[in-house]
């Protein structure tokens, strides 16, 4: 809703969900609202025993990683999603962005639920201090916030937002997926998977609105935006590599984390409609991490990847959908 020129007395328009200009708005609204969850839904206290088995350095790493994620969710909730609202092309898009802003607040809040369930107050306070003082974390947050400033181009804001949603979180998401692959902190991983699913829809939707706007631009402007996007990704990547090394060197996982970063950078670019950047040799994500991301999804081995010995017919899937006629 544009309220910039109240003196012109343009009629203020109420959102009408029975007149949809863009079907994606409704589709994504439906998915996001049906995805709604709260941290109370996940039995985090079942991880207390598992938490006790972690070494002190592993605990510190985990808490720090989660404060880093909290910072990104805080930014996206308080600044990122609201900053996209004035650029919305439909009133329904504003409503979707309001949903995104709120869910980011739920994400940020859920890390504190993990902390209060598993950690000592002093450890957590230390990690929050660390997050305020860590130069790499602060730097990546700054780069994104600079683009969110009102003076920035609306499409540059969308690029920055997609990179936050689809790339910057993953140096952090790696760790709970890793723990879960070793049967540690599995309830915490269940909660993180809910966040990961939400972020996929956020990155998808903002990327979609970006692609749609870019299509209408002249070739020259399109090229300029693409150059901007790749340059920003490189800048962010450089910081991410340092951030990852600082956190993960001690546990010897930095290279594994980087492969995961490359893989997610490619996915972020695809959400913007661009081709992947990192080659296959750089995106060899640890299969345990992939399995942890989508548990059970690999039971039906598909044929072309050579993981199965014969063609397999899909099994045990819900097909209750009234539109099927057979």
């Amino acid at each position: 809703m544009n309220i910039a020129h109240p003196s012109q007395r343009a009629a203020l328009k109420a959102v009408n969900w029975n007149r949809i200009q863009d079907d994606k708005d409704l589709e994504v609204w439906n998915r996001l609202t049906s995805n709604f969850w709260l941290p109370e839904k996940v039995p985090l206290s079942n991880d207390i025993a598992s938490w006790a088995t972690l070494r002190p350095a592993e605990r510190q790493l985990t808490i720090r990683v989660f404060t880093g994620l909290t910072l990104l969710d805080t930014i996206q909730s308080a600044v990122g999603a609201p900053a996209l609202m004035p650029d919305a092309e439909t009133p329904h898009e504003e409503a979707v962005l309001a949903n995104i802003a709120f869910m980011e607040a739920v994400h940020a809040r859920s890390y504190s639920s993990i902390f209060s369930t598993l950690c000592l107050t002093a450890e957590v306070d230390e990690a929050f201090r660390w997050s305020e003082e860590n130069p790499h974390l602060q730097q990546k947050a700054r780069l994104i916030l600079d683009e969110y400033q009102a003076t920035s181009d609306p499409l540059r804001r969308k690029v920055a937002s997609v990179f936050l949603e689809s790339f910057l979180f993953y140096s952090g998401f790696y760790l709970p997926m890793w723990w879960s692959s070793r049967a540690r902190l599995t309830n915490t991983a269940d909660l993180i998977r809910l966040i990961i699913r939400d972020e996929a829809v956020h990155g998808y939707y903002i990327g979609y609105k970006y692609q749609k706007a870019v299509e209408r631009l002249p070739e020259e402007k399109r090229k300029e935006l693409k150059d901007f996007a790749f340059a920003l990704l490189f800048d962010l990547y450089e910081i991410e590599a340092l951030y990852a090394a600082e956190l993960y060197d001690e546990v010897g996982l930095t290279e594994d984390v980087k492969a995961f970063l490359h893989y997610n950078a490619n996915k972020a670019l695809m959400n913007l409609g661009y081709e992947a950047l990192f080659p296959a040799t750089a995106t060899n994500v640890n299969p345990a991490i992939l399995a942890s991301l989508s548990p059970g999804a690999d039971e039906n081995h598909d044929f072309f990847s050579g993981s199965g010995s014969s063609y397999v017919i899909g099994k045990a899937v819900a097909t209750e959908d009234e539109d099927w006629e057979f």
Binding site: I196, G296, A297, F303, G314, V317, A318, D323, F326
Partner: protein, 137 residues
């Protein structure tokens, strides 16, 4: 040469995958848009997932309408599922649903618009798949 039929929504991930694959293939792929569409030769379907949190409604409606036509179904030989691993156990769920419902193999799954590796595997995989089916016939 046998066919490829696909669905892709306004985000165009599957379309971009098929276009890149198409640079290597002689026959153009057929896109399901929503209106009536009839396949004329045996084909493999490429289908993204759009479900809710429980996996309901994963197969896009235009794909269901296309498959509700028994003539199209009779020519379906296999499915490739598209999606995003961020959807957890429902990754590329629609591919599995179609495979089960139509009794055809799930040949492959990829994420978003696919990587170079995905294109290579599908290109080679399809070649071998059709050869095998022809030998069996």
């Amino acid at each position: 040469m046998e066919g490829l039929v696909y669905f892709s929504s306004a985000t165009g991930n599957t379309r971009r995958f098929v276009e890149r694959l198409g640079e290597r293939r002689a026959r153009p792929a057929l896109r399901i848009l929503g209106g009536p569409l009839s396949a004329t030769a045996p084909f493999v379907l490429i289908c993204p997932s759009y479900g809710d949190g429980e996996g309901r409604g994963s197969v896009p409606k235009p794909v269901i309408r296309f498959l509700n036509d028994p003539a199209n179904r009779a020519l379906l030989r296999g499915v490739i599922g598209a999606g995003n691993r961020n959807f957890g156990h429902l990754f590329a769920h629609a591919g599995g649903v179609v495979a089960e419902k139509c009794g055809v193999p799930l040949l492959y799954r990829f994420e978003l618009a696919g990587t170079g590796t995905d294109i290579d595997r599908v290109d080679k995989g399809l070649e071998e798949f059709w050869t095998r089916l022809r030998e069996r016939a």
